[in-house]
């Protein structure tokens, strides 16, 4: 048994960490947070140059043909750095959907452009609060609103969930720069990443292969594992910053990190992160080997990571005391991102229910 990333994968992780620690400081994150920009285009360009958008795309379509494990180590670093780029939307969701379910023509058309960063993709799935999908496609035309669509205002194309004429849930591809598509940026808890409302008015869409509900679930499962790595990376960065701060800050004549009230808080954060990381590792293995228990493993990784990031981001802010509630300190960046990541691809309501369902179905 070997439950660790390979040396090559760890090398990719080290490279990614080095790159992001220079190119994606929290000052860069704040650049997006504090402006009207939807993402950092410079950083995105550099990420494309490094080939990260091409990683999981087959070589025949201009990709690198690497696996999910490589993507997992990248995801952890993007999460650690709070990267203000549409990577998860474009890579884990839109690109993955086309790689897995697109017709030969769709793959040949979109994948080389996604790999080269000429196109950014997104998943347009939610229709306001709740999980239900009611939008319908008739005669290849879609009408109605999707919100929120993560990175929906920077994306060029979207994979859209909607019902066909028979009322069956299907996946479609929509070109977002066409007539009949109107986009509005939504105010959100984490403006370092964008959320949009997309209004379709008889917009032309094409079915994505013959992908339906099962394929959508599988797509969300894969993204759940990758997002869990982002959440673990962010949790670790938040805890590390809290440790550094409390070891340096003195009160009552001693480092505040020496008080048991804080030590026990940090021990609980460590525990939550270790559980989340371990579940994410198992999810990564299940994803990369297409194991039969992938659906349960993915949902478990997701639940664990969302719980961990919430706990760590709020307790890290608390451990910083009053300074933690200033705009100047970075605590709120993690707190905001934890909220964002635990909403993308569905909240705990969806994923906890899936864990229960899948666990009870298992032998």
């Amino acid at each position: 048994m070997n439950f660790e990333f390979s040396e090559e994968q760890q090398f990719i992780r080290d490279q990614a960490r080095n790159f992001l620690s220079q190119e994606c400081t929290t000052a860069v994150v704040r650049g997006v947070l504090e402006s009207d920009a939807a993402c950092d285009r410079d950083l995105w360009g550099k990420i494309v140059e490094l080939g990260w958008t091409a990683m999981a795309i087959p070589e025949e379509h201009g990709g690198l043909g690497l696996g999910y494990l490589e993507l997992c180590v990248i995801a952890e670093e993007l999460g650690r750095a709070l990267a203000p780029v549409p990577f998860s939307s474009s890579v884990y969701l839109a690109t993955e959907a086309i790689v897995r379910f697109g017709s030969a023509d769709q793959r040949a058309h979109y994948l080389p452009r996604l790999a080269a960063g000429e196109l950014i993709g997104a998943l347009a799935h939610a229709e306001g609060p709740g999980e239900a999908v009611n939008l319908q496609v008739l005669d290849n035309r879609l009408s109605g609103s999707k919100w929120p669509v993560p990175d929906g205002d920077v994306a060029d194309i979207a994979v859209v969930s909607a019902r066909d004429a028979q009322g069956e849930l299907r996946l479609y591809i929509a070109d977002l720069n066409h007539d009949g598509v109107r986009r509005n940026t939504l105010h959100s808890m984490d403006p370092s990443r964008s959320q949009a409302r997309i209004d379709f008015d008889a917009a032309v869409v094409a079915p994505l292969g013959d992908a339906g509900e099962r394929e959508l679930d599988a797509l969300l499962d894969g993204a759940a594992v990758l997002l869990a790595f982002e959440q673990v990376g962010g949790s670790q960065a938040a805890m590390d910053s809290g440790l550094e701060y409390t070891k340096q800050r003195y009160a009552f004549g001693r480092p505040v990190a020496s008080f048991q009230a804080l030590k026990h808080k940090f021990a609980d954060m460590f525990v939550a992160i270790e559980l989340a990381r371990s579940n994410a590792y198992y999810g990564a293995w299940a994803l990369s080997s297409d194991a039969p228990d992938l659906p349960l493993a993915a949902a478990t990784a997701r639940v664990s990571a969302s719980d961990a990031y919430y706990l760590v981001s709020k307790e890290n802010l608390q451990a910083h005391g009053g300074m933690g509630f200033t705009w100047e300190f970075d605590c709120h960046l993690y707190y905001r991102r934890a909220q964002l990541l635990s909403s993308q691809v569905g909240s705990q309501r969806r994923w906890k229910d899936l864990v229960a369902t899948r666990l009870l179905q298992a032998a």
Binding site: F259, N279, S288, A299, D307
Partner: protein, 409 residues
């Protein structure tokens, strides 16, 4: 990442399965095998003897010490397979998991060859004698005195919370040999013959009504100097090693309550509806499963580290902390689920043969034994996260000058 057995491990798994099929009954439920009572003890003795004769005892110990000379991964395979059978595997984990490494590390070669094989087969039963009434989490504050008398040491004092002392032939005991130096410097570790006049074992009646633990009294008990483990005054570092072995040993077998909870959720109907459809139950099921699965995956990561030549450090505290807390919460939630009937603890009437009621009452002990939740958090904070220790009021003082409160109890 790769979870497949190597050909060698696959072959070992087949051997283990074949032997277990021939020597144990497969289990269909996840009910916890209680550790208490004379019958459990006798079954455990026989089980350990049987597996020793078949070459499955103490798999990672060298053969000359009664082990099988195999790797940590073989141990994992054994643990996975044996979990599917009704056995007493794990009953002597304190003796074998704690005392064994202490003997292996500190005793001389003759003693190792004589004592360890009999420990592995449970022909000799061992207990660990560290805790004292006046030294709980502050283990090094212990007061049991050992004074030199020629080639012997004379021991006086009291230990507490000693699992299995009433059955034990030997113990590993931590004593104070010098009260004039700091509390850590004055400790010495020994093996002790428990079957002697000066050793008296009294069972403790526990809060849950059980009698798993004991008090042990030493009245001029005698230990020959060649039973000393390590240097005079070097007992503390040895004790730390033993305590870390304990956390590792019990992190694999201590109850989390989750398999029992899952079993109950799968089968129980309340008011004509399966509880599996109750949103409150499903939310708890998902949360606890994510912790339970996380522990299992964390264990796999730890094993990978060990297999690669690293060692499992203070991270092992995580398993104990999470499992112990979950165990209590699951028990309480389940009894609350049963409505007014939740209070009834009757094997015939209560769901899952009253497992959860028993667990509500016994679960506090899991959070205390082998280091409390609070000690686990301190270990994680200090040894893993590098947070500074609390200032100590007894720092730099000779043991005899350290202030104490009234005797407990």
């Amino acid at each position: 990442m790769d979870f497949e057995d190597t050909p060698e491990l696959a072959e070992f798994r087949r051997e283990v399965r074949a032997w277990l099929d021939a020597n144990a009954e497969r289990r269909s439920d996840a009910l916890y095998m209680g550790m208490e009572g004379e019958q459990a003890y006798r079954e455990a003795k026989q089980w350990y003897l049987d597996k020793a004769r078949a070459g499955f005892a103490s798999l990672t110990w060298p053969k000359e010490y009664g082990g099988a000379g195999l790797t940590a991964l073989h141990e994992v395979v054994w643990t996975q397979e044996v979990a599917n059978y009704r056995t007493r595997d794990g009953y002597f984990v304190i003796g074998i998991g704690n005392c064994g490494p202490a003997i292996m590390h500190f005793a001389d070669e003759d003693a190792r060859r004589e004592l360890l094989p009999r420990m592995a087969s449970a022909e000799d039963v061992w207990c660990q004698l560290f805790s004292e009434p006046s030294a709980g989490s502050d283990v090094a504050g212990l007061r049991t005195r050992a004074e030199r008398d020629g080639d012997n040491w004379i021991v006086n004092g009291q230990k507490i919370w000693t699992s299995g002392a009433q059955y034990s032939d030997y113990g590993v005991v931590l004593t104070r040999t010098d009260p004039d130096v700091s509390k850590y410097a004055g400790l010495t570790m020994f093996m002790i013959d428990m079957r002697q006049e000066g050793v008296e074992v009294r069972p403790i009646k526990q809060a849950d009504g059980g009698q798993h633990f004991n008090e042990v009294f030493f009245n001029d008990a005698v230990i020959p100097d060649n039973y000393r483990l390590g240097e005079v005054g070097g007992g503390w570092s040895g004790a730390l090693a033993v305590l870390m072995s304990e956390r590792l040993a019990i992190s694999g077998i201590q109850p989390t309550g989750f398999p029992q909870f899952l079993g109950m959720v799968r089968s129980l109907q309340l008011d004509g509806e399966p509880v599996a459809q109750d949103p409150l139950v499903r939310e708890r099921l998902a949360t606890w499963y994510s912790q339970y699965a996380g522990l299992q995956a964390a264990n796999k990561r730890m094993i990978t580290a060990v297999a690669k030549g690293g060692f499992a450090g203070a991270e092992a505290s995580l398993g104990k902390l999470v499992g112990a807390v979950m165990n209590q919460e699951i028990a309480n939630f389940s009894c609350q689920l049963f409505g007014q009937a939740g209070i009834v603890q009757d094997e015939q009437l209560s769901p899952e043969r009253a497992h959860f009621q028993g667990s509500v009452l016994s679960s506090p002990s899991v959070r205390l034994a082998g280091g409390t939740d609070e000690v686990m958090r301190n270990i994680i904070a200090e040894q893993v996260l590098g947070m500074p220790q609390e200032p100590r009021a007894d720092k730099g003082m000779a043991f005899k000058d350290i202030p104490t409160g009234p005797e407990p109890g």
